[in-house]
């Protein structure tokens, strides 16, 4: 079996007061595009910085292609293209100077590759960094991460500040990188982005990995918003619906019942019995809705667990 591109074992960075990252076990295979989802402060950037060897874990370990991220941090960086969450300020340096500076530091950067990426994103490297819009600064960061055709791309919220057209261009660039053999670890809080490009998704919340699933698996999670309309004069079996397994958030208004069904529809259909159902609409959950479902702060721990 191939050496994982990224492997973490009980990786922990404890900042105190419950903040940080706790006992993260993660394995990302070569050529996989892995989406790392979570709200702000969930621990996405902390994970990335641990893997990049920027911060020292309190416990556990992280490896990139079998190399220890701390002990072999220089060797690890030879494989990696890194886009941090915040692009640093380069003041009066021109874009072409920034590229030459980091290209010189790394070595082996192909000017044609730089030209191609700059052209795809319509990025003028002749302008001074301070003159760049936030979107252009982000494009420069993407260029710096991709310019040396790395084996592993670690990207912290890469599409922040990009307009929709450039986002699409970025997704194409990412797909090309994967086709050429690169592994991608991409953090995001935008689910549509993950839907576009990722093979698997890890969801992190309050510093803990809640779940790792592939996209099909996520879609299969049986979470449906259901609206049932009963016929005139028919009795609404409200109590039966409320007590049905996997059904919650039941709201009854006149002849219309709205509820959320987790998992199988069996219990709900049995609860409806033979009463005349005039209309039944089930909304397929979007990834966004699943995401929100995971992170509803008011929800009980039980409600957060996924029942496949």
């Amino acid at each position: 079996m191939a050496v994982p591109a990224i492997r973490t074992h009980r990786l922990t960075k404890d900042y105190g007061a419950g903040r940080g990252l706790f006992e993260l076990d993660l394995e990302i295979q070569p050529q996989e595009v892995f989406g790392y989802l979570g709200p702000n402060g969930a621990g996405k950037t902390t994970t990335i910085r641990c893997v990049m060897g920027m911060i020292r874990p309190t416990a556990g370990s992280a490896h990139v292609f079998g190399l220890d991220c701390l002990r072999d941090s220089v060797e690890v960086k030879r494989f990696v293209g890194y886009l941090p969450g915040d692009i640093p300020q380069f003041g009066g340096m021109r874009g072409q100077d920034v590229v030459a500076y980091f290209g010189g530091m790394r070595g082996g950067v192909d000017a044609k590759r730089v030209h191609d990426i700059a052209e795809r994103f319509d990025l003028d490297l002749g302008r001074r960094f301070r003159e760049y819009s936030s979107g252009n600064k982000q494009k420069l960061g993407i260029l710096l991460a991709f310019m040396h055709r790395p084996k592993l791309l670690i990207l912290d919220e890469p599409t922040g500040g990009l307009d929709p057209l450039n986002q699409q261009e970025f997704y194409r660039l990412l797909a090309e990188a994967r086709d050429e053999g690169a592994t991608v670890f991409l953090s995001s809080h935008i689910l549509s982005e993950v839907e576009h490009v990722c093979d698997r998704v890890g969801i992190v919340r309050s510093g803990r990995l809640v779940r790792v699933a592939n996209l099909e698996e996520l879609h299969r999670i049986r979470l449906h918003h259901v609206e049932i309309e009963f016929a005139d004069g028919a009795a609404v079996p409200e109590d039966a619906i409320r007590s049905a397994a996997g059904v919650d958030r039941v709201v009854v208004t006149d002849r219309v019942v709205k509820c959320v069904v987790h998992g199988s529809f069996d219990s709900l259909l049995k609860a409806l019995g033979t009463d005349a159902v005039e209309n039944l609409v089930s909304h397929e959950p979007s990834l966004e809705e699943i995401f929100l479902e995971y992170y509803r702060e008011e929800a009980s721990p039980d409600a957060l667990s996924i029942r496949p």
Binding site: T46, R49, M52, G53, M54, I55, R56, S73, V74, E75, K77, R78, V80, Y82, P84, D86, I87, P88, Q89, F90, G91, G92, M93, R94, G95, Q96, D97, V99, A100, Y101, F102, G103, G104, M105, R106, G107, V109, A111, V114, H115, A118, E119, L123, D124, L125, G126, R130, E131, L144
Partner: protein, 539 residues
Amino acid sequence: MLFRFALRQGRWGLAGFSLLAFLLALLQSAGFYQVAGHTAAERAAFGKSIALLAAQFTVIVPAPLRPDTVGGYVQWRAYGFFAIVFAIWALASGVGASRGDEERGLVEATLAAGVSRADALIARFAAFTASVIVAAAAGAAGVYAGTDRLHDWIDPGSVAAASLLLLGLALTCYAMTLLVCQLTPARMATALAGGVLLVLFLVNSLGRSLDLLRGWRWLSPFYYYDLSRPLAPGGAIDVRAIEVLLVIAIVAGLAAAIAFSYRDLGSPLLALRLRAHGVIREPSRVVWWRIPVARGLYDRRAGLIAWTVGMAALAVVFVLLTKSIVQPMLGISSLAPYFRAIIHGEIYPSFLGFIWFGFAELLFAGYAITHVARWSAEDSDGRLELTLGNPISRTAVIIERALVLVAGLAFIATVSAAALGVESQAQAIDVSTRKLVEASLLLVPFGLFFAAIGAVMAAFIPRATVGLMAGFAIASYFVTQVGPIFKWPDLVLDVSPFKLFGQPLASGVDGAGLAIMVIVIVVGLGASALLLRRRDIGA
């Protein structure tokens, strides 16, 4: 609330300049008794000598009035210098308030919170006014603390007038800085506002001697400051001049507020359109970017050139001033102990070595501290994180930083030594070439000494490092300059790193001092490398 926030923004300036004002006033008033003597005859002789000496410095401060009295002496030595110090504070504070905060997004956030532009500017103006009042009061307290009240009396009204003058000048410089900043791009604001204040300062100071400029002195706020000398017995208090300063401050402040209300955030009032140029998609072909150390120097090339040219020019000025300062001083008997303390060997090279290398040490320490500031900034703004995203170790980062600094220090030292050597020849001051080279090269470890300490401090207190290091350098400089005069104990003098440098132009390189510097450099840089390896980046 807005006022309190503005006050908080400038708290370091308030603390630093208040302390500086207090210490300088205290030093000069207390020092008067050390150098002027206690009998009337001694003081009269001292006053004449100082008047003679001061004639050499009218390009910086006006000639003194009654320097034989503590009031006249403090007016000249402390309050003449305060005009420059408070103007620099006004410049730094004004640029920070008008464009620095804007660059950091603070102004946008403030305006988005429903605060009007006029209120935002008024709050900053009021906070600076309050800060200057505190600092001026600290200066006044220093005067009183250092004055021997049993024998000398300084009228509180005179001290209040001197403080009011200082306030008027500082507010005028502040308001003018605010106005200039509205008209210029943010990146040029410091240079242009500083240039305007420098020109106004020079119009007044050079106008004291040059007929060409004498008729234009009224344009300068420093002229109105000069018109009053309230601390000196018999010194005038020109109320109209104070009024003029306050009127200029109000008018310039109002003009700045109007300009601020009309301009776009992030742009000057009159913005030039961007020049069209061909789109560039390739990385720069400049070879320096690809060479370690050279890329750091190339990145800082503008600053390096400015420091080099400035230091070389200063070296020439110091040579030019040497004879004209030393000759009149030789006739002042009260300064004999001073000469004995600083002169070893031939008088001109020795004096040149003392004043030039004393000042050069301070500037080299300043240059090193700017590098430390840059290192701290690279850590906090994410540039270090992006750098370490490449296959480069943390130790290599420290080594490259140190080598860039060494190369910069060596370049500046070499060029300024060449300028000093050439001009010394022209002025018939016999400076030993070997000693000059040794002394100049000794500035390299001296600068590194400060950088090594700063690098360690930056690992723990990055935000306060620059201020503390600058304060340490200035305090050390003054300890070396005035310590021998006040006959401070060796224990105090040894605290100053300037003591380690010694007087290489007169006495050769002090081996023990050099060894201590090297040990501190090795230990400091080693510790900072160790700390950087252990430290979290970007967290």
